[in-house]
Symmetry: C2
Subunit: 136 residues, 2 copies
DNA sequence: AGTGGTAGTCTCAAAAAGAGACCAGCACTA
DNA sequence: TAGTGCTGGTCTCTTTTTGAGACTACCACT
């Protein structure tokens, strides 16, 4: 075992002590990770990292998101402080979404993961195909 | 805008060309990200990065996961090639789960995100509290 | 004979996500 | 002047996903 890999068990004990001493259910890191690991969260953060977008622009950019989920995911991202929402009083009022500083700082490590995914998507697809073939 | 931030729109065009030319729905990166962004996936990968664990050990380590979701998440991780499953013919047969090389290589960027979450969990919680207070 | 540990599966209820209709207000067009 | 479309959503209904908990079979130990 690589000793540089952090010790999860020790961390769990720390979290137990930090929270209610009982279980590991409300581990604060999990809380944060969960907020950004939703189906659409990372995609929207990636989009907004490029430049601010309006609601309809995001909808067109990600065609297979429903309006309902776009609304809700943006709301959640705003609530967690990653995204800023600004309404402009144009004739049909337009709403612009942009990353906050916190959002940009979170985007950095997220991008690492996305880059890994880009590099390794073939490996994952092959593994998946091999597994499915073995199951059949 | 920071010019070092990659251009999502250009990427989207590339993906469009790579897939069916139509929409961005089956973007391969999203496919990979989705596999590791489940509610339990990252947590189990983090656990297995420390050392291999057996089914029951994982269940005890993460007390609030149901057996059903543990089974299924491990199955999915195995299917995508992140996790290796090995059955030992002990008297009650025991099953050991461990990370594959692919899993370990994915854990590296995942850890970046987890470290970010550790450092910024307070900021996120404050943002959340402020937002909720403003809504009320 | 009863208890506990092994790794699950099965069923049913609750929560989350997806599909699509609907809304008000303004601009442009026929 | 009535229709059409764009703005950013909400509302309802259905499908999918998740969670809770009972149940299985086998073996060891008491």
């Amino acid at each position: 075992m690589d000793s540089k890999i952090f010790n999860l068990k020790a961390k769990l004990e720390v979290y137990k002590a930090m929270t209610n001493g009982g279980n590991f259910a409300d581990c604060p890191v999990r809380d944060v990770i969960q907020g950004i690991s939703g189906k659409w969260s990372s995609l929207l953060v990636m989009a907004l990292a490029e430049k601010p977008y309006r609601f309809g622009e995001l909808r067109r950019l990600v065609p297979d998101i429903s309006q309902r989920m776009l609304t809700q995911t943006l709301y959640d991202l705003q609530r967690d402080g990653y995204v800023h929402r600004e309404v402009f009083p144009t004739k049909p009022p337009s709403v612009e979404y942009s990353l906050t500083d916190l959002g940009r700082s979170m985007f950095a490590p997220l991008q690492m993961l996305v880059q890994w995914a880009e590099l390794n998507r073939d490996a994952v697809r092959e593994a998946r195909a091999a597994f499915d073939a073995a199951q059949a």
